[in-house]
Every structure is written in C-alpha cells, then in structure tokens.
C-alpha cells in the first residue's frame, strides 16, 4: 500500500508538469500581453505613453522573451523557492493572493462534497430499496432537475428568492463588517450562515448524479443470490442490505466521487463569480481578462493540484472500502 501511494505521488509529478505547461500555454495564447492591457488603461485615463515607454514596461515585466523562457522562470521559481511569481495587476506576489483564496475554494468545495455524501447515500439506498415508491419518484425527479439546472442559474434563482422574500442580499462569504476582520467566533458564525448557499448550489448537481449511481448499483446487487442467501439465513433486512450489497454498490460511488470533486472545483469558478465569493473564481477570471499570466497560471495549476490530490484520496478510500481491490 505504501509503495502504491508513493507511486501515485510520483505519477503526480509528470501530471503537474503537463498541467502547468498547458495552463501557461493557454494563458499566453491571446494576442498581446499585460503590457498592452497596462498601456490601454493608461491611454484611456488620458496619459500619453510613448512606444519607448511601452517597450520599457514590457522589458520590466520580462514580457519580451519567448513564452517558454517565461515558463521556465516561473516553474523554476516554484520548485526552488516556492515562489509563484508576481501579479502585475495587483502589484503583489502571487503567493499573497492565492493562498487565502485557495483555502476558501477548498473549504467551499469540500463542504459541498460532504453534503453530497451525506444526502446521496441514504436517498440512493432508499430509492433502491423502495423502488417505484413515492419517495423514489421524488428523488428521481429531483435528480433530473438537479442535473438540468445550470449551476449559475440556480445560484441566481436562490439569490433572487432570498432577496425577494427575505429581503436580504446574499452573496459573498462574509457580511461586510467581517470581510477584513480577524477570525473570531462571530466571524465563523457569519461564515457558516453564508456557506450554505454555495454548498447547496454546488452540491445539487453532484447529489443528483450520485443518487442515480447508488440506486442503479444497489438495485443490481439486490438481485444477486448472495442477498437471498443472507435473507434466508435470517439476517435482519437492515443488515442484509448494509453488510454486503451496499458496500459493493458504494464502489462506483467512490470512483465517481472523483469526477464530482473535479466538477465541483471546476463549477465553483462560475458559481463564485455569480455569488461573488472570495474564492479563486472571480480573481481567476479577472486575471485571465487582464492577461495577468503568473496569477492565472498559478490558479489553474493549484486547482489542478487540488483535483489530483482529491482523486488520490478517493482511490485510497476505494481500497479501504472494498478489500477485493489491491493496488500493487
């Protein structure tokens, strides 16, 4: 097992190199660079920028070299010094910008994942055991709706409802008075009071999909002879379901949990723009628009790290859940 984990961690290295290259290539793809953005903004505010000055700005930010050289600087900085480069737009080291945002993204995504977990398993089991009952039908309808409503639209509708009927303007992860306050119990309470909205929005699609997975797999397992045997031997119905069929049915659940986590981190980008959450999404979008490449590149890469690690964790869970799986 240890060697398996070690191999997986080793395997992450080429993956991350590929991701960072891809992210960097995509970001430097647009015509023009940050110097153009800067000059354009300066001209719009009425300043005169001569071509020499423009060239100086470009040289100052080292944008006049081929992208692979820029990549090399950036990547070697990360590896040797843990330095993710410099955000042109914010005039700050990327390190100062991304860690708080990434932490928030992690908290939001992970708590949504927990919600999915807590809701999808019992509902899926109920749906399978009481197939075609009223509850099963409701779960099915909810499942299809959850998959069909775009995340950002759902967020908008929830915001609309709470604005309209509760008179509160939701959005953000903190009330205005707490945004810059240090962490305290009151701030934590405020945060938890706001967290439910992105949790519900992000969790719905995943929950809907996973209820289907659990239901379908458990239905398959329940028909197998060993369940009949278990019942015939006098096992209580609850144990006859929980001991073996459920464990096996959860196997695809865990592996599809991977995809759900990836989609959640990914979908959080759009949802957090709509809900103006202090996560990576809005900042990434801005950075991409302004061609603030080190910031954008670092975000894309760190989000990928998050999903790759999430995948590893769920594979390990799988091994723990199903003793038949042995990684070598």
């Amino acid at each position: 097992m240890t060697s398996y984990i070690a191999r997986r961690l080793l395997y992450m290295i080429p993956t991350l190199i590929a991701v960072s290259l891809l992210a960097f290539a995509v970001i430097t793809l647009p015509p023009g660079d940050y110097a153009d953005t800067y000059v354009l903004a300066a001209r719009q505010s009425g300043q005169v920028v001569t071509p020499e000055e423009e060239a100086r700005i470009r040289a100052f930010y080292k944008l006049d070299r081929p992208w692979i050289a820029q990549y090399w600087d950036w990547a070697s900085g990360i590896v040797t010094r843990g330095d993710f480069g410099f955000s042109f737009q914010w005039d700050l080291p990327v390190n100062e910008l991304i860690w708080p945002r990434l932490a928030m993204t992690f908290v939001v995504s992970f708590s949504s994942l927990l919600l999915v977990w807590i809701v999808a398993i019992p509902v899926g089991v109920y749906s399978a055991v009481r197939q075609y009952s009223l509850g099963d039908m409701l779960a099915t309808i909810f499942g299809f709706l959850g998959l069909a409503i775009p995340n950002f639209l759902f967020a908008l509708v929830l915001m609309y409802v709470s604005f309209r009927y509760f008179g509160t303007s939701v959005g953000g992860l903190f009330s205005p008075e707490y945004v810059n306050a240090p962490w305290s119990l009151a701030k934590l309470g405020d945060f938890l009071g706001k967290l439910w909205l992105p949790m519900v929005v992000l969790g719905t699609a995943g929950t809907a999909g996973l209820i289907r997975v659990v239901r379908a797999n458990l239905l398959d397992e329940l028909k197998k002879p060993y369940v009949v045997t278990a019942r015939a031997k006098g096992l209580r119905e609850r144990d006859a379901i929980r001991r073996y069929p459920l464990r096996i049915a959860l196997n695809p659940f865990v592996s599809s949990l991977n995809d759900v986590f990836v989609q959640m981190v990914s979908g959080a980008t759009i949802v957090s723009v709509v809900l103006s959450l202090q996560t990576t999404g809005p900042l990434l979008l801005e950075a991409l628009r302004a061609e603030d490449m080190y910031l954008a590149g670092s975000f894309v890469m760190m989000l990928s790290v998050l999903t790759v690690v999430g995948t590893l964790v769920s594979d390990l869970l799988l091994a723990w859940l199903d003793p038949r799986i042995r990684y070598r």
Binding site: T15, A18, V19, L22, A23, V26, I27, L29, P30, P31, F144, L145, L147, A148, I149, P150, N151, F152, L153, L156, V157, M159, Y160, F163, R164, S169, G171, D259, V262, V265, S266, G267, T269, I270, V273, V274, L284, L285, L288, R289, A296, F299, V300, L303, S304, L306, T307, V308, T311
Partner: protein
C-alpha cells in the same frame, strides 16, 4: 412481466424477422419519460427552425416606451360595444407612468384598451431557413404599435418571448456541432485505443485520464478569453464549438473504446480478419454498426452538457456575444440581481435551458436503456 410477446410466437407466418432497430424502438417506446423527452426535443428543434416565424416580433425590434414591461396575460372572452360576446385571444393595453423617486417605469394594465391577437400578420422581415424572405408571423398584435409582450420585455423594450425563441437556434445548434466534432475525435481515438490495445491503448488512456483530471472550466475560460474580441461573431461561434468539443470527446472515446474491447474477440470480427479485411474496414464496416446505438445514446447525453457549457461561457461574457442571440447571451441580462428582482421574466431563457436539457437527458437515458435490445 407484461412485455411484448416474442415475435417468433406468431402462429400464421412462421418465424417473423424482427430487426435490431425494431427491437430498440420497441424497448424505447415502453419508456414513458424517454418518449416525452423525444417529443419535446423534436418540438424544440422544429421550433428553433421556424423560430422567426413563430416569434411575433423580430429579435431586435424594440418599443422604447416599454422597457421592462411585465408579461401581459392572454385573455379569451370579451364583449364588444353592443354587448355581444366575442371569443378570441387578446391582451389588455399597458399604461405607463414614471416613478420619479426610483426613476423606474411603472406599468398598469389598462382594462379599457384591447389589442386582439391576429394570426399571420405582417411584421418584421426575415428569411425563413435563411433563404425564404417573408414578413409573415404566426401571430401578432392587430395593431403593431400596441404592446403585446406575452412574457415581458427586456432592458430595451424588446420582446423576451421572441428573443428566447430566436436564441434557441444558436443554443441548440451549438450542441449539435460541438458533439459532431467531439464524436469524430472520440471515434478515432476510442477506436485506435480499443482496436489495437496494448501500448497505444495505454498512451491514449493516460491522455484521457489526464484531461479528465484537470478542472475543465478554468481551462476553457482561459481558452475563451484567448479569443480575439473583434472577430466575426460567426467565427466566435465556430471557436466556441471547438472549445466545447474539447470537453466532450474524452467521454465518447471511453464509450467507443469499451465497445471495441468487448467486440474485438467476437466471432464475426475474427471471421472478417481471416477474410483479409483491413483494420479500417473491420472497424467501420463490421464493428461500428454493432454498437452504433450505444454511440447515439452517448451523443444524445453529450449534447445537453454542451448546451449548459455554452450557456455558462456566454453568461460570463466569454462565449458568444451580442449581437448574436443565444440563451447564454440573453441570460447576461439577468446577471444583476437587482434588475432580476424587478423583472424576474428575464429568467425565461434559463427556463428554456432547463427544459431543453431535461428533455434531452430523458431521451438519452431511454436510448441508453434501449441501446442493447438483447440484454435482459
């Protein structure tokens, strides 16, 4: 089980031949929701094809007096001056006043004015199917200057109903084109992977795993942001479908590969190989037809994902842009929660997205269940 009686049991004509396609259809028909989905999907695409005709107004026609006008319900029974009762659709007029405190227009239903809805009136000119110039619409207000906003008006006083209908053309076709592109990629790579197996398979599978393990939305936001701002909208449309197909193909490739792997050692494939058929011929002549139904099901399920993706990208302002009209572009208007609070009918395109995605999911689900008519 109350399944259909086996066709071989018909007593008079000996063993009847039932084609696999017929078996698929028979299975599919039993699936109520899937049938509903099929009908809805068909209706949506037909509606999109005839959108300019079905829409009472042109998409850019505006009545500046009626910005953010609320939906006007359709009434059916009225009496004329002589007290005779007339049956026919009509809407009441709207009286407009400006609330100077909020600077907003206030609309009130004006019960005294009646605008009958007539069929086949002349209206904005358009080209049906892109080449038949006409100005007839299915229905419209008898007096073109009177408001008839069945589902309200937007920021500029344009009819939301007409715009949503027209938006269907782009939103529904973007999925089809994107899926076609990803199907080509999926068939080629899935086919290579599944047919040859071994090192080719390992390599392609690693690439697919890699692509699936990275968060796609940040990446395609990056790609979409890379599109130049000032190119032809048609070209943007083309690029967006390309970006969308980048997400779609990995899933399709997996389906194709799985099928190839399971068919590779079937007798009929071996027979074809012994007959000296080349790999392309074996793949596309012998193997593809036998899992075509699976591919069709996978494709049907991939289209709604693309529609959702286009909507999300356009909503963020990174996909299609004005003057192109798609559901995502229309939903950009609904970005500001305050304007939505005063004009919730701006959500209408969102409802259209939900209906379209839901119908196609039902359809795809049914197709997937029916795809293998020989399984129990």
């Amino acid at each position: 089980m109350s399944g259909p009686t086996p066709a071989t049991a018909s007593p008079h004509s000996g063993p009847a031949v039932v084609t696999p396609a017929h078996l698929v259809w028979r299975r599919f028909r039993r699936h109520r929701l899937a049938m509903l989905g099929a009908v809805m999907t068909l209706a949506l695409y037909v509606g999109a094809a005839f959108a300019p005709f079905l829409a009472p107004f042109g998409p850019n026609e505006y009545q500046a007096t009626y910005t953010y006008a609320p939906p006007q319900p359709v009434h059916w029974l009225r009496s004329d001056e002589d007290g005779r009762r007339i049956f026919g659709p009509y809407v009441h007029g709207l009286s407009v006043s400006v609330d100077y405190d909020s600077g907003r227009r206030v609309f009130e239903t004006d019960e005294t004015t009646v605008t009958p809805i007539v069929f086949f009136p002349r209206g904005a000119e358009y080209d049906l199917f892109g080449f038949i110039p006409t100005d007839r619409h299915l229905f419209g207000p008898a007096d073109p200057d009177q408001p008839m906003f069945l589902t309200g008006a937007d920021r500029l006083g344009r009819d939301m109903f007409s715009r949503t209908l027209i938006g269907a053309q782009v939103s529904l076709s973007v999925g089809l084109v994107g899926v076609a592109a990803s199907l080509v990629l999926g068939l080629i790579f899935g086919g290579l992977s599944g047919y040859y197996g071994g090192a080719t398979d390992t390599l392609i599978q690693r690439v697919i795993e890699f692509l699936q393990s990275i968060p796609s939305i940040p990446l395609w936001i990056g790609l979409a942001a890379a599109l130049p701002k000032d190119v032809d909208p048609v070209l943007i449309y083309f690029y967006i479908t390309l970006i969308l197909s980048l997400i779609g193909w990995t899933g399709l490739a997996r389906v194709v590969r799985g099928r190839f792997l399971s068919l590779r050692n079937e007798d009929f494939v071996r027979a074809a190989r012994l007959d000296g058929a080349g790999p392309w011929r074996i793949m596309f002549r012998h193997m593809v037809p036998s899992f075509l139904s699976h591919v069709i099901a996978a494709v049907t399920l991939a289209i709604p994902a693309m529609i959702l993706a286009e909507t999300a990208l356009s909503f963020l302002g990174l996909g299609l842009r004005q003057p192109v009209i798609s559901w995502g572009v229309l939903l950009q208007e609904a970005q500001n929660i305050r304007s939505v609070a005063t004009a919730p009918w701006l959500f209408l395109p969102g409802l259209a997205v939900v209906v379209a995605v839901l119908s196609m999911n039902f359809l795809g689900d049914g197709l997937r269940d029916a795809a293998d008519p020989f399984s129990s």
